[in-house]
C-alpha cells in the first residue's frame, strides 16, 4: 500500500521527476540550433538515455509503494503543478524511455534510408518533442498539464507521420486523418477537464479525487467523465475509435511506427487508468455501469474484429497495426474487470506488448530497408537470407500469441486468471480463442519467411549490426520478461494496488 510521500529537497536526486522531462525538452530545440544531423542524433540518444536512467532510478524508489511528489517552481499543490510518481507511472516512464533508448541506435540507419536528407535534424527534434510529450503525460499529477503534454506529443506525432511521405505519399493523408481525430480526442479531453474544473474548482488530480468523492450524482461530473474517457479512448485507439491507427502505422516511417506502437497508445491507456481509478473512485465507475456494458463488450469486439481483420492483411505493417488494436482490447478488458489482478494484467500487458510490438515493427523496418517493401508477397524465403531478423520475428510473434516462455504469456495468464477469479469462464475462453487468431496471422508470415522459395536471383543480406543489436536486445527482453517476472510483476502489482487504493490521495 501507498507508503510515505517523499517531498523534494534540494539534491539532484529529488529533481528527477522534472529532469526526466526537461532533458529531452531542452535537447529538442538544441538539435535545430546545431543544425547537424549527427549532433542531432547524439543529442537525442543522450537525452533519451538520461531519461531512461532517471526513470529506472525512480521506479526503484517507488516499488515499495512510496510516492514521489515534485512541486514545480516550489508552488505547493493544489495551486501549483505537481509531478507525482508512483509505481503505475514510473513503470510506464521506464517503458517509454527504455524503448526510446533502444530504438535510437536502430533509427540511425533506418532514418537515413527512409527520410530525405534535409529533414534529418528536424526529425530528431520532433522525435524528442514527442518523447517529451509522452513522458510528460505520464509523469504529471495535474489534469490540465496532461492536456498540454498530450498536445506536445500529438503535434509532433503528426509531423513525424507525415515525414513518411518520402516512401509513400499516403503518409500525408494518414497524418491528416490522425490530425483530425487526434484533435477531436484532445478537445474532448480538455472539455472533460473543464467540466471537472467547473464542478470542483481544482485541476490537481489528488485534489480532484478528494473533491469528487460524493459527487457521483452530479451531471457535470458525469459528462466530464464521459468526455475524458472518449477523448482518451481516441488516443488509445479503443475499438471502434481506432480508425486513425492502421494507416498512421502503415505509412509512417519504420522508426516512427516502432516508437508509436510501443509507447503512444500505452501512455493513453495509462491516463485512462489514472482517471478511471484514482481520480474517479472505482465505485463511481462501477455505478455508472460503464465498465460492464460499454468497456468490456468493446474490448471483446476489439480482440476478435481487429484480429480477424489482421489475418487478412497482405501488408505486414498494416497487419501488425490491426494486431495492436486487438491487443489494446486486452488492456481495456483488464480495465473492464476492475479487480486487482485484472489491473495488474493491464499494466503488465502494457509493458510486455510494448516490447513485443517494438521487436516486430523493427523487423518490418529491416525488411523495408533490405527489400524495399513490407508486403508479404515480397518477403518469400527471407528466413535464409536474413536469419537473425527473421528469428527475431518468430520470437516476437510467439510473444504476441502468448506462448509460454515469452512475455506475452505472462499477461495472458494474469488476464485469464482475473477472468476466472470472477467466475467468468466464458470470458477466459474468449480470451484464448482470440489468441488463436493471433496464431493464424503470425504463422501466415512465418510460413512466408521460411517455407516459400525466394525469388530467382534475389541477393539480400542481413541488415547492419547497428540495427540488429537493438532488435535483439528487445527480443531477448521478450524472453527474459517471460521467464523472470520479478520486476514487471512487482511493478504491476504495486501499481494496481496504488490505483485501486486511490493512489493519488
Amino acid at each position: 500500500m501507498a507508503g510515505s510521500t517523499i517531498l523534494p529537497t534540494l539534491g539532484i536526486i529529488d529533481q528527477l521527476p522534472l529532469l526526466t522531462i526537461a532533458v529531452p525538452l531542452v535537447a529538442g530545440p538544441l538539435c535545430v540550433l546545431f543544425g547537424n544531423k549527427h549532433i542531432a542524433w547524439v543529442l537525442a540518444f543522450v537525452a533519451s538515455l538520461i531519461s531512461f536512467l532517471f526513470s529506472a532510478h525512480m521506479l526503484l524508489q517507488v516499488l515499495d509503494g512510496d510516492v514521489l511528489s515534485y512541486h514545480l517552481g516550489g508552488w505547493a499543490p493544489p495551486l501549483g503543478i505537481e509531478y507525482r510518481v508512483d509505481a503505475a507511472n514510473a513503470f510506464v516512464l521506464f517503458l517509454i524511455s527504455g524503448i526510446s533508448t533502444v530504438i535510437l541506435p536502430y533509427a540511425r540507419k533506418s532514418v537515413e534510408h527512409e527520410i530525405k536528407k534535409v529533414s534529418h535534424t528536424l526529425f530528431y527534434c520532433c522525435y524528442l518533442l514527442c518523447f517529451t510529450g509522452l513522458l510528460g503525460v505520464v509523469v504529471t499529477g495535474d489534469a490540465f498539464n496532461v492536456f498540454v503534454f498530450l498536445e506536445i506529443s500529438s503535434l509532433s506525432t503528426y509531423v513525424l507521420i507525415a515525414m513518411g511521405a518520402e516512401r509513400d505519399r499516403r503518409a500525408l493523408t494518414s497524418a491528416y486523418d490522425y490530425l483530425i481525430l487526434g484533435t477531436i480526442g484532445a478537445t474532448f479531453f480538455v472539455i472533460g477537464i473543464g467540466f471537472l474544473y467547473i464542478a470542483t474548482g481544482t485541476l490537481n488530480m489528488a485534489d480532484l479525487a478528494v473533491r469528487l468523492a460524493g459527487m457521483e450524482g452530479n451531471r457535470t461530473v458525469q459528462a466530464g467523465f464521459a468526455f475524458i474517457v472518449v477523448g482518451m479512448g481516441l488516443k488509445a485507439a479503443i475499438y471502434p475509435l481506432h480508425l486513425w491507427l492502421p494507416s498512421a502505422y502503415t505509412y509512417a516511417s519504420s522508426v516512427v511506427t516502432v516508437f508509436l506502437a510501443a509507447t503512444a497508445t500505452k501512455a493513453a491507456i495509462y491516463v485512462l487508468l489514472r482517471f478511471m481509478f484514482s481520480v474517479f473512485q472505482p465505485e463511481f465507475v462501477f455505478e455508472t455501469h460503464i465498465l460492464t456494458f460499454i468497456i468490456m463488450p468493446l474490448a471483446i469486439l476489439a480482440m476478435f474484429a481487429a484480429s480477424l481483420i489482421a489475418a487478412f492483411q497482405t501488408d505486414l505493417k498494416r497487419l501488425l497495426a490491426y494486431s495492436s488494436v486487438a491487443q489494446v482490447g486486452y488492456m481495456i478488458l483488464g480495465i473492464g474487470l476492475a479487480t486487482k489482478i485484472s489491473l495488474s494484467a493491464t499494466i503488465i500487458h502494457l509493458f510486455n506488448h510494448g516490447i513485443t510490438k517494438a521487436v516486430l515493427f523493427m523487423v518490418v523496418g529491416a525488411f523495408v530497408m533490405q527489400k524495399g517493401s513490407s508486403f508479404a508477397k515480397n518477403l518469400n524465403g527471407l528466413g535464409k537470407q536474413m536469419p537473425w531478423t527473421c528469428a527475431a520475428f518468430v520470437i516476437g510473434g510467439l510473444s504476441l500469441i502468448g506462448v509460454p516462455g515469452t512475455a506475452g504469456f505472462i499477461s495472458k495468464w494474469l488476464l485469464i486468471d482475473a477472468a476466472l477469479e470472477e467466475d467468468l469462464w466464458w470470458l477466459a475462453l474468449l480470451i484464448v480463442m482470440s489468441s488463436l487468431l493471433a496464431v493464424v496471422y503470425v504463422w501466415k508470415i512465418v510460413e512466408v519467411l521460411y517455407m516459400k522459395q525466394p525469388e530467382e536471383g534475389s541477393v539480400i543480406g542481413e541488415v547492419s549490426i547497428s540495427m540488429l543489436i537493438p532488435m535483439w536486445i528487445l527480443t531477448i527482453a521478450c524472453i527474459y520478461f517471460g521467464l523472470n517476472t520479478e520486476l514487471t510483476l512487482t511493478s504491476a502489482n504495486v501499481a494496481a494496488d496504488g490505483l485501486l487504493g486511490g493512489g493519488a490521495q
Partner: protein, 490 residues
C-alpha cells in the same frame, strides 16, 4: 553414480547439446555429426537408467529449477509413470537414431543437420514432460515439443508437407492454448497449486460434479496430442514426415506425451477416487470407446500404409484414455502399461513401413503384393509388431489389453469389454492382410522379380530389435505393473 536431480538435468541437457552439435556441424561431416548424436543418445538413456537403478520408482522431492511467478515453477520430480515414459522415449531414441541414419541416407533426403537437430530437441522436450513436477512445467514442455517437431513434419518442404505441418501445429497449439491452458489456470484458481499430488489436488476444494466434468473436458480435448476424436486429424496429417519421425515422434514421443499427460491429469490433478466419486469421467469413457472403434474402422479403409498405421495409433491411444476414464487403479496401471507395449509394437510397424519405402519406394498397400518373400526379415518383424498391437500372447500387447479388460470388468462396464474385443478383431482385419499379401498373394506388381531386396543394414537391425522387444516385454509385464503400482494408489 549421479545424484537424481543432476541426472534429470543432464538427461535433458544432453539432447540439447546434441542439437547444437548438429547445427554447428551442418552437412559437412555427417559421420562425425551422427556419431556424436548417437553417443548423446546412449548417454541420455544411461542417465535415465541410472535414475531407475539409483532410485527405483520411488517418488522424489520436487526440485525447483526456477520460478516464473509465485506458484508457477519450472520443477521436476521422479514418479513411476514419468520414469517409465522417460525410459521408453530415451531408449527408443537410440534405436530410432540408428534407423534414421540408415533411412535418411538410404533415401537421399536433404537437410540432415536440421532434421537431426530438431529431433534431438524434441527428445529433450519429451523428457521435460516426463519429469515435470507440476502441470505448468508440463504445459511448457508440451508446447516446446509441438514447436520443435514442426520442422520435422514440414521436412520435405512440398505443398503437401506444408499443409500437413499447418494442420499439425494449428491443432496442437490451438487445442493446448485454447482449452488446456484455460483448464490449467482454472485449476490453479481453484486449488491454489498445480503440483502433481497423489490423490489429486481438487478433491478437498468443493468442486462439484458439473465443474469437474467441464474441467476434465478442457483437459481431454485440450491435450490434442492424445488424438481423442474429434481432434485426431493432425496425426494422419503429420504422416507426411519422414518415417523415422513418424516412428519415434508420432508413435512414441508426441502421442505418448499426450496420453501420458492425460494419465497424469487423471491421477495427480483430479485423483482417480475423485473421478470415480463424481462420475466426471463417464462421458470420456464413452468418447474413448467411440474413438477406439471409429478410428479402427477408418483404418480399414486406408490403403496408404502410413495412414492406416496412423489411424491405428488414434485408436490405440484411446485405450489409454479409456484406462484413465474408467477411474480405477487397474485402469490407470493398464493405461501406463499400454504406453510401453504400444510404443514397442507401433514403432516396429512404422520402421517396417519406412524400410519398405526405402527398399521399394512404395507407399500403398495394394502395391505390396509378394514383398514378404523378398523382404522376409522386415515382414517377419511387421507380423510380430502387428500381433502385439492386436494383443495376442506371447507378445507384450496382450497384457495391457488384459489389464484394461479387468479394469472394465471391475467397474462393471461390460460394454467396454465388448468394445475392447471388437477392437482386437478390427486390428486383425486391418493389420494381418498386409502381412498375408506380402507373403502369399501372387505377385501382380512384379515385386519379386525386379531385384528388390531388404533395406540397408541400419534400417533393418533396429526394427528387428524392437520386434524382439515386443516378445521380451511379454515376460516382464508383471515387473512393469509392480513398478507402476504406486500410481494406482496401491
Amino acid at each position: 553414480m549421479m545424484e537424481t536431480n543432476t541426472a534429470i538435468l543432464v538427461s535433458m541437457a544432453l539432447p540439447v547439446l546434441a542439437c547444437i552439435s548438429n547445427l554447428l556441424h551442418g552437412d559437412r561431416r555427417p559421420n562425425l555429426r551422427d556419431g556424436i548424436t548417437l553417443l548423446a543418445a546412449i548417454a541420455t538413456f544411461g542417465c535415465v537408467l541410472s535414475i531407475l537403478i539409483n532410485n527405483g520408482g520411488a517418488p522424489t522431492e520436487i526440485f525447483t529449477l526456477f520460478s516464473i511467478m509465485p506458484g508457477l515453477d519450472i520443477a521436476f520430480h521422479i514418479e513411476p509413470l514419468g520414469l517409465l515414459f522417460a525410459l521408453i522415449a530415451s531408449g527408443l531414441w537410440v534405436v530410432v537414431h540408428l534407423y534414421a541414419i540408415g533411412y535418411m541416407r538410404g533415401n537421399n533426403e536433404g537437410n540432415h543437420a536440421r532434421f537431426f537437430a530438431a529431433f534431438c530437441f524434441s527428445i529433450s522436450a519429451t523428457l521435460g514432460i516426463a519429469f515435470s513436477a507440476n502441470m505448468f512445467s508440463l504445459f511448457i514442455f508440451y508446447e516446446i515439443l509441438t514447436i520443435a517437431t514442426y520442422p520435422l513434419v514440414a521436412h520435405k518442404g512440398t505443398e503437401e508437407a506444408k499443409r500437413g505441418a499447418r494442420i499439425y501445429v494449428g491443432t496442437l497449439l490451438g487445442t493446448s492454448i485454447g482449452l488446456q491452458m484455460v483448464g490449467i489456470i482454472w485449476t490453479y484458481v481453484i486449488a491454489g497449486t498445480l503440483d502433481f499430488t497423489q490423490g489429486g489436488i481438487l478433491h478437498d476444494k468443493e468442486v462439484g460434479a458439473g465443474l469437474a466434468t467441464i474441467l476434465l473436458a478442457l483437459y481431454a480435448f485440450g491435450i490434442g496430442k492424445a488424438a481423442l476424436m474429434p481432434f485426431h486429424k493432425w496425426l494422419p496429417a503429420a504422416m507426411v514426415a519422414p518415417t523415422p519421425v513418424s516412428a519415434l515422434l508420432h508413435a512414441v514421443a508426441v502421442v505418448k506425451a499426450g496420453v501420458f499427460t492425460i494419465l497424469k491429469v487423471g491421477i495427480y490433478i483430479f485423483g482417480i477416487d475423485f473421478l470415480a466419486e463424481t462420475g466426471a469421467s463417464q462421458w470420456l469413457m464413452w468418447l474413448a470407446a467411440f474413438s477406439i472403434l471409429a478410428a479402427s474402422i477408418i483404418a480399414m479403409t486406408k490403403d496408404n500404409l502410413k495412414a492406416r498405421l496412423a489411424y491405428s495409433t488414434v485408436s490405440q491411444l484411446s485405450y489409454i484414455t479409456l484406462g484413465m476414464a474408467l477411474a480405477t487403479s487397474m485402469g490407470v496401471i493398464g493405461g501406463g502399461l499400454h504406453i510401453a507395449m504400444h510404443a514397442f509394437g507401433k514403432i516396429t510397424l512404422f520402421m517396417c513401413a519406412g524400410a519398405i519405402y526405402v527398399a521399394t519406394h512404395k507407399t500403398e498397400i495394394k502395391q505390396m503384393t509378394g514383398l514378404g518373400r523378398v523382404m522376409p526379415i522386415t515382414y517377419g518383424a511387421f507380423l510380430i509388431g502387428a500381433l502385439s498391437i492386436i494383443g495376442l500372447p506371447p507378445l507384450g500387447g496382450s497384457w495391457s489389453k488384459w489389464q484394461l479388460m479387468i479394469a472394465a470388468a471391475d467397474t462393471e462396464q461390460l460394454l467396454m469389454i465388448a468394445v475392447l474385443m471388437i477392437s482386437s478383431l478390427l486390428n486383425v482385419a486391418y493389420l494381418l492382410p498386409i502381412v498375408a499379401k506380402g507373403f502369399f498373394l501372387t505377385d501382380e506388381n512384379n515385386n519379386t522379380g525386379s531385384g528388390i531386396k531388404e533395406a540397408p543394414f541400419w534400417c533393418v537391425t533396429p526394427l528387428v530389435f524392437t520386434a524382439l522387444g515386443c516378445l521380451v516385454l511379454f515376460f516382464y509385464a508383471g515387473d512393469i505393473m509392480e513398478f507402476l503400482a504406486p500410481i494406482g494408489g496401491g
